[in-house]
């Protein structure tokens, strides 16, 4: 579904991504792990078209993403939850959600709105509050809900559990799993590795801009690409690099 090849990006002299090869297949949930500054957010932003890119290709459903303007990538079925939430602060909760369905038809929006609100009942009671005045966690819920509004074929989530109460984290992961079960592909960036691996089919580990490990998960068992069985702390040390 999404396939990225030889992808590199840099901020001026700072190289943030180097020759990344990554793919997400139809209906898959893929988890991208890595320590701070590894380049996870950069990858997601660049795929969406608002980050830097200097080399490489990215295809979505066989179409060349890089040839599409940012807004058209949404129409292809891509949705994103940014790190730091990316809500529209001066617009109400309701309007934020409606903006999520910007590319959808009216009837679809109404339906999606119902579903999203059942997932996050709190949002329903705050419909007319300005999104900028929500608490950090509330904003995070709004961002996830908004991404679901566009009925995407694939969602990229950048640290969706950040700042959420434990009980909500559970709900959010359940929701992601549920969305995934309905056939939406997921690319998930998470620090909360344990949780992330409960819903992922495969995982990548990024360290200082390069992919260092890649593998599959099934029933809680992690296997590397080469077929070795891995423990979670082995992955951890992979992305901690020399730091620890």
């Amino acid at each position: 579904m999404l396939s990225i090849e030889k992808f590199s990006a840099s901020y001026g002299p700072v190289r943030a991504l180097q020759d990344i090869d990554l793919h997400v297949d139809r209906g898959e949930a893929v988890c991208l792990l890595g320590s701070n500054g590894a380049g996870k957010s950069t990858l997601i932003r660049s795929v969406m078209g608002i980050g830097p890119r200097i080399a490489g290709t990215a295809h979505f459903e066989g179409r060349n993403l890089l040839a599409h303007a940012v807004e058209d990538r949404v129409r292809l079925g891509l949705a994103v939850v940014f790190e730091g939430r990316g809500i529209l602060p001066a617009m109400s909760v309701q309007e934020n959600l409606l903006m999520g369905g910007y590319c959808r038809r009216r009837a679809e929006i109404a339906e999606a709105l119902d579903q999203v609100v059942t997932l996050f009942p709190l949002l329903a009671s705050r419909r007319n509050q300005l999104a900028g005045t929500l608490s950090g966690g509330e904003q995070q819920m709004l961002a996830i809900a908004r991404a679901l509004m566009s009925r995407p074929r694939m969602i990229m989530l950048d640290e969706p559990s950040m700042g959420l109460a434990p009980i909500v984290v559970e709900q959010v992961f359940e929701a992601i799993a549920e969305v995934n079960r309905r056939g939406v592909a997921i690319l998930l960036v998470e620090q909360n590795m344990h949780m992330a691996l409960t819903i992922a089919n495969r995982f990548y580990v990024l360290d200082r801009g390069t992919l260092v490990l890649e593998g599959a998960v099934s029933d809680g068992v992690l296997t590397s690409k080469a077929g070795h069985v891995l423990r979670e702390d082995e992955i951890e040390s992979a992305y901690m690099g020399e730091k620890s």
Partner: protein, 268 residues
């Protein structure tokens, strides 16, 4: 905790935003040198409590006594003068400035001079400036040794975790009596979370009293011997981690069914 050492005494702190009752009469006390964890569901009023205590938001009721003064009546800079410093949930740094410049902002209070002095007594001013830089570097070495090696890096180019550390350094540089820390471990991986926990314990060991908000239970259990739980702007429980993790209200509203979040090798 013994009441005799109480440094900060919050009574009935309340705040409403239009229809939303963000805080609804919260009582808390903080002892000298103590670390108090504050947890609670999203939107339960934790950050608002910090905002009241630092004068960023006007309270609609209650008192917070520190050294005879009621913080809820004071302006932010007056509160700062009493020795209260904080970090922000949404990092607030000057992104275009260097690490050192940002930390120096925290040293403002001890090292300021008057506008006239700047003009007429450049020497005094220069001495103060050097002192401030020394203090800032020391704070950096204390909470972010890696950054102390590169104090001229521009903050906007640093990853998230480093920015959090700079905020922490900026808060401790003024040697405050009370430190308010809002979700220091958000967006950090387990390893970094552990580092931050360690930092906080070391800060506390220097005699600063700390109020810390966090959603990561492992973290909060490590740093805070006593934890207050807020929900809908009220305190619903208070006690050690062991006490609150079994509290049915806390379980239902915050921790969730699975309850024990330390068991997993994750970080909750």
């Amino acid at each position: 905790m013994t009441a005799s050492a109480t440094l900060l005494e919050i009574r009935g702190a309340a705040k409403s935003f239009g229809g939303v009752q963000a805080l609804d009469g919260v009582d808390l006390h903080l002892g000298t040198g103590e670390v108090l964890g504050v947890i609670g569901p999203n939107g339960s009023g934790k950050t608002t409590l910090f905002n009241l205590l630092t004068g960023v938001v006007r309270a609609s009721g209650g008192t917070a006594r520190l050294a005879g003064a009621n913080l809820l009546d004071l302006k932010p800079w007056e509160i700062s003068a009493l020795g209260v410093a904080r970090t922000f949930q949404n990092i607030r740094l000057a992104l275009g400035q260097s690490v050192l410049q940002n930390v120096l902002v925290g040293a403002y209070r001890q090292n300021r001079t008057s506008w006239w002095q700047v003009l007429l007594a450049p020497h005094t001013v220069a001495v103060r400036e050097t002192q401030a830089v020394e203090k800032a570097m020391e704070a950096l070495r204390f909470v972010a040794p890696a950054l102390a090696a590169a104090p001229d890096r521009i903050v906007g180019e640093l990853p998230y975790a480093d920015r959090r550390r700079i905020e922490l350094a900026r808060a401790v540089v003024g040697n405050p009596r009370i430190l308010l820390i809002d979700e220091p471990a958000a967006g950090m991986n387990p390893h970094e979370t552990a580092e931050i926990a360690d930092d906080i314990l070391r800060i506390a060991a220097r005699g600063m009293s700390i109020l810390v908000i966090e959603h990561k239970m492992k973290f909060i259990a490590t740093v805070a011997p006593r934890i207050a739980v807020l929900n809908f702007g009220r305190k619903i429980a208070e006690g050690s981690y062991e006490q609150i993790r079994t509290d049915p209200h806390v379980l239902a509203s915050y921790l969730g069914r699975k309850g024990d979040h330390l068991a997993a090798s994750g970080d909750r």
